[in-house]
C-alpha cells in the first residue's frame, strides 16, 4: 500500500490523545469532592456557554495577548486559530467532496494527496484552504523572527528552552512549510490545489520533481506532525489543551487552594511561556532574571525549583495581572512556599499565656482599630489615624495599642501557613470578642489577610482610606483643599491585592491636586519594600526603588502620597520631597 505515510501522524495522534485523557482524568479525579461536585453541577448551566466563549476568545483568538501587543497577538492567533480553521475547513472540504460526514482523520488532513479529480466547489475550497495555510505560515514566520528579535513583540526577554522543547518546537515550525511543499508536489502532477499550492506546483513542474520526492515530502509532513503530537505533552505546548481544561474548570467556580493540588497543576501546565510575565517584572532592574513566574512554573514541572528562586520575588502581582491565561501566579508561588517550609511551622504557644487585657470602659465599641506592626513603625501614621477618629467622635477600641500579635500576612507570604493560622485564630477571637461592627486597618498587608483569611462574618473590614472617605461623606469630618500637586502610589497589596484604587484617590482630590501618572492602578510599580521577598538584598531593593521613584516623580509633584506604612517607610529614604500616608494627609487637612 502506498499510504503508509499517514502512519506517523496517526500513531502520534493516538498517543497524544491517550496521554491527555489519562493525565486529565487523573488530575480531575484528584480534585476535592466539593470541587468535583461543582464541576458536575455546572456542566449543563450557562457557565458552560461563557466558558466556551472564553475558550474561543483566549485559546484561539488570544484576545488578551492582542491587548498587550498586536504582533504577538497575531502570531499566537494565526497559529492557533489558523490551524483550527485548517482542520475544520479541511473536514468540510472532505464532506463537500464525498458527501459523507464521518471519515478517517487522515482523509481530510492529507486531502490533496488522496483527491485528484475535480468536484463541484473544488476551486473555492482549495483557495480557502490555501488562504488559511498562508495565514498560519505568516504566524510561523513571525515565530522564527521572535526567536531572533523578541523586542519587536514588546518583549525584552524570551524564555530559555530545553532540548525536549526545542525538538517539539522545530517539529511545529516544520509542519506548515512541509505541508505547503507536499501539497505543491502533488499539484505539480495533478494541477489540484488553490492559488498558493498550485504556484508551488508549477515551480516543481518546471524543475521536474519525481514521484519519490512527492512521497518523501508527504512522509516528512506526516512525521513532523507525529513528532509534534508525541512531544506535546512533555513540552510547553501542553498548554494548548490544558488551557481549555483550565477555563472549563475555572468557570465552575473552582478556586486555587492554599496548598498545591491538582488544580494548581492544571494552572502550571496552562502556561504558554508567552513571556509577558518576564517583561513586567521589576527584578530585571537589578539584573535578576531567573525567578520570574514563567521560570517558577517551569521549575515546578521539572521538579527543580530552588529556594533562592522561590523566595526571591516581591509577590507584587504585576505578572499575575499581565498573564493572558489569568494564572493565579502569586498564590501558586505561595503554595510552593507552603510546601517548602511545611516542616517547621511555629505553634506560638506563648499566645495562650499572654495576660488578658480588660477593656477600660465596658461599652461596646463601634470600631476596632488594628494598627499592625508596620503602622507601629511609623508613629506619624498611627497618630494621624487616632486624631481623625477622635475628631470624628468615633467610639473605637485600639486593639494592638501596647501588646499586639502580628496579623499573620508576613507568615503567609513566607509560606508559613500553619503558623499564620495560629496568629489568625488569636486575633480573630479578640476582634469578635470586642463586639465592634467595623474593623479598621491602616496597613494594606494586614488588610489583605483580614479580607482573605479571617472569616469575620458580619464585621466589615475597612482600610483607613475607605473609612475616612465614609467619614467625609457622612459629614463627620470636613477637608480643606490645598493647591499642592500630589502623586499617589498604589500599594501592591491594596491595589492589585484587594482592588482598592478609588477611595485614596477620592480623598486626595479633596485635599490637593491629584496628578495621574503613566503606570498606575493595576499597572502600578512596586516600591521594592515588599515583605513577599525574603532574600532580595538592600542594594537591589534600592535600585528597584529608584526606578519606581523616577516614574512617580516624573512630573515633579509637591508631594508623594501612599496608603501603606511600608511603602512610606521605603520611599522616605530615597527622596527629597514629602512622602505622606493618606492618614497623615487627611489629619492635616481637617478643618477645625
Amino acid at each position: 500500500m502506498e499510504n503508509y505515510f499517514v502512519l506517523p501522524f496517526t500513531v502520534g495522534t493516538v498517543i497524544l490523545f491517550s496521554i491527555l485523557l489519562v493525565k486529565y482524568a487523573l488530575w480531575i479525579s484528584k480534585l476535592s469532592k466539593i470541587d468535583k461536585l461543582r464541576i458536575v453541577q455546572s456542566i449543563f448551566s450557562r457557565r458552560t456557554l461563557s466558558a466556551i466563549k472564553e475558550c474561543f476568545m483566549e485559546c484561539l483568538i488570544h484576545r488578551r495577548i492582542f491587548k498587550r501587543n498586536i504582533l504577538l497577538g497575531y502570531m499566537h492567533m494565526s497559529l492557533a486559530f489558523g490551524w483550527f480553521l485548517l482542520i475544520v475547513v479541511g473536514h468540510i472540504e472532505w464532506v463537500v467532496y464525498s458527501g459523507t460526514f464521518v471519515t478517517y482523520p487522515w482523509n481530510s488532513i492529507f486531502f490533496q494527496y488522496f483527491v485528484h479529480e475535480s468536484f463541484p466547489g473544488e476551486k473555492i475550497m482549495a483557495n480557502i484552504m490555501d488562504f488559511l495555510l498562508l495565514f498560519v505560515l505568516s504566524g510561523v514566520l513571525l515565530a522564527y523572527f521572535k526567536r531572533i528579535n523578541s523586542r519587536m513583540y514588546g518583549i525584552k526577554k524570551t524564555t530559555k528552552l530545553k532540548p525536549r522543547d526545542r525538538m517539539t518546537m522545530c517539529a511545529l515550525w516544520l509542519i506548515f512549510p512541509l505541508r505547503l511543499l507536499a501539497e505543491g508536489a502533488t499539484a505539480s502532477f495533478y494541477h489540484n490545489g488553490g492559488f498558493l499550492t498550485n504556484s508551488v506546483g508549477r515551480f516543481f513542474e518546471w524543475i521536474q520533481i519525481s514521484h519519490t520526492t512527492e512521497e518523501i515530502l508527504w512522509w516528512s509532513y506526516s512525521i513532523s506532525l507525529g513528532v509534534f503530537f508525541v512531544g506535546l505533552p512533555w513540552s510547553r505546548y501542553m498548554h494548548i489543551f490544558t488551557e481549555v481544561l483550565l477555563i472549563g474548570i475555572r468557570s465552575t467556580g473552582v478556586k486555587l487552594k492554599k496548598e498545591f493540588n491538582s488544580y494548581s497543576r492544571i494552572q502550571v501546565y496552562s502556561c504558554s511561556r508567552c513571556g509577558i510575565c518576564i517583561d513586567v517584572c521589576q527584578m530585571h532592574i537589578s539584573n535578576i532574571s531567573n525567578n520570574q513566574s514563567v521560570y517558577i512554573l517551569k521549575n515546578i514541572r521539572d521538579q527543580n525549583l530552588t529556594d533562592r528562586k522561590l523566595f526571591n520575588c516581591l509577590l507584587c502581582g504585576r505578572c499575575e495581572q499581565a498573564c493572558p491565561v489569568n494564572i493565579n501566579l502569586n498564590d501558586l508561588r505561595i503554595s510552593q512556599r507552603i510546601r517548602a517550609t511545611k516542616e517547621y511551622n511555629s505553634d506560638y504557644a506563648f499566645l495562650k499565656t499572654l495576660p488578658v487585657e480588660q477593656p477600660v470602659e465596658d461599652k461596646t465599641p463601634e470600631v476596632i482599630y488594628f494598627a499592625g506592626c508596620m503602622t507601629h513603625m511609623t508613629p506619624g501614621i498611627k497618630k494621624s489615624v487616632l486624631k481623625v477618629l477622635e475628631k470624628a467622635n468615633v467610639n473605637y477600641q485600639f486593639m494592638d495599642k501596647d501588646k499586639g500579635a502580628c496579623c499573620g500576612r508576613p507568615l503567609m507570604l513566607a509560606g508559613q501557613y500553619e503558623a499564620a493560622k495560629k496568629l489568625i485564630a488569636h486575633n480573630r477571637e479578640k476582634i469578635l470578642e470586642s463586639g465592634a461592627s467595623t474593623l479598621l486597618v491602616s496597613c494594606p498587608i494586614c488588610y489583605k489577610v483580614f479580607k482573605d483569611d479571617y472569616e469575620l462574618g458580619q464585621i466589615s473590614i475597612k482600610h483607613h482610606s475607605e473609612y475616612f472617605l465614609e467619614l467625609v461623606e457622612q459629614g463627620k469630618i470636613t477637608l480643606k483643599k490645598s493647591d499642592k500637586s500630589i502623586v499617589y502610589h498604589d500599594p501592591c497589596e491594596l491595589g492589585r491585592g484587594c482592588g482598592v484604587y478609588e477611595p485614596p484617590r477620592n480623598l486626595l482630590k479633596m485635599t490637593g491636586n491629584l496628578q495621574s501618572i503613566q503606570q498606575e492602578k493595576v499597572n502600578s510599580l512596586c516600591c521594592s519594600g515588599s515583605l513577599g521577598d525574603l532574600c532580595l538584598s538592600m542594594s537591589d531593593r534600592n535600585t528597584i526603588k529608584a526606578e519606581t521613584l523616577k516614574v512617580l516623580l516624573n512630573q515633579n509633584p509637591d508631594m508623594l502620597a501612599t496608603a501603606c506604612p511600608l511603602c512610606k517607610k521605603t520611599f522616605v529614604k530615597g527622596v527629597d520631597i514629602q512622602v505622606k500616608d493618606i492618614a497623615e494627609i487627611v489629619a492635616e487637612s481637617m478643618e477645625n
Binding site: D307, R308, F311, T341, E343, Y344, S346, D347, Y348, F350, L351, L354, C373, M374, H376, M377, D402, K403, G404, A405, C406, G408, P410, L411, A414, Q416, A419, L423, G529, L531, L534, C535, L536, S537, M538, S539, L566, K569
Partner: protein
C-alpha cells in the same frame, strides 16, 4: 550564699575548636549579609515578639555564632516574621531570611532543644 540583691553569671570559656558551626555555616552560605551584623540590637529593640515575650533575636544570633544551639528551637519559634527588624537594621540584613534559614537549618541538621 548571701543574697546581695544581684547575681553574677557563672564564668565560662568558649573553646573555638569545638564550636558547632553547622547552623551558622548554613545561614552564612545562604544569606551572606548576616556577616555584617554588628550586634547593635536595633532589631531586638523594635521586635514585635520581644514586646510580647522575652524573645531576644540579637542574643539568639550570638548564641548561634557560638554554636550554643541547646535552646534555639523554642526561642526562634516566637518570631512572627513581621519584618520590623528588617526595616530597622542599619546593615540592611535580610533578617527574615536569616530567621527562616535558622528554622530550616534546625530541621536539616535535626537539632533539638536540650533540657
Amino acid at each position: 550564699m548571701r543574697n546581695f540583691g544581684f547575681a553574677t553569671t557563672k564564668s565560662r570559656t568558649v573553646d573555638y575548636s569545638k564550636i558547632d558551626t553547622r547552623l551558622i555555616g548554613y545561614i552564612l552560605e545562604n544569606e551572606p549579609t548576616f556577616n555584617a551584623c554588628l550586634s547593635c540590637g536595633s532589631c531586638t529593640a523594635i521586635c514585635s515578639a520581644g514586646n510580647l515575650t522575652n524573645f531576644n533575636i540579637r542574643k539568639l544570633s550570638l548564641l548561634i555564632r557560638l554554636g550554643e544551639l541547646e535552646k534555639i528551637h523554642t526561642e526562634i519559634d516566637k518570631c512572627m516574621l513581621c519584618g520590623k527588624c528588617l526595616l530597622e537594621c542599619p546593615r540592611g540584613i535580610n533578617t527574615r531570611n536569616v530567621i527562616m534559614l535558622i528554622k530550616k537549618g534546625l530541621t536539616i541538621f535535626d537539632i533539638k532543644d536540650q533540657e
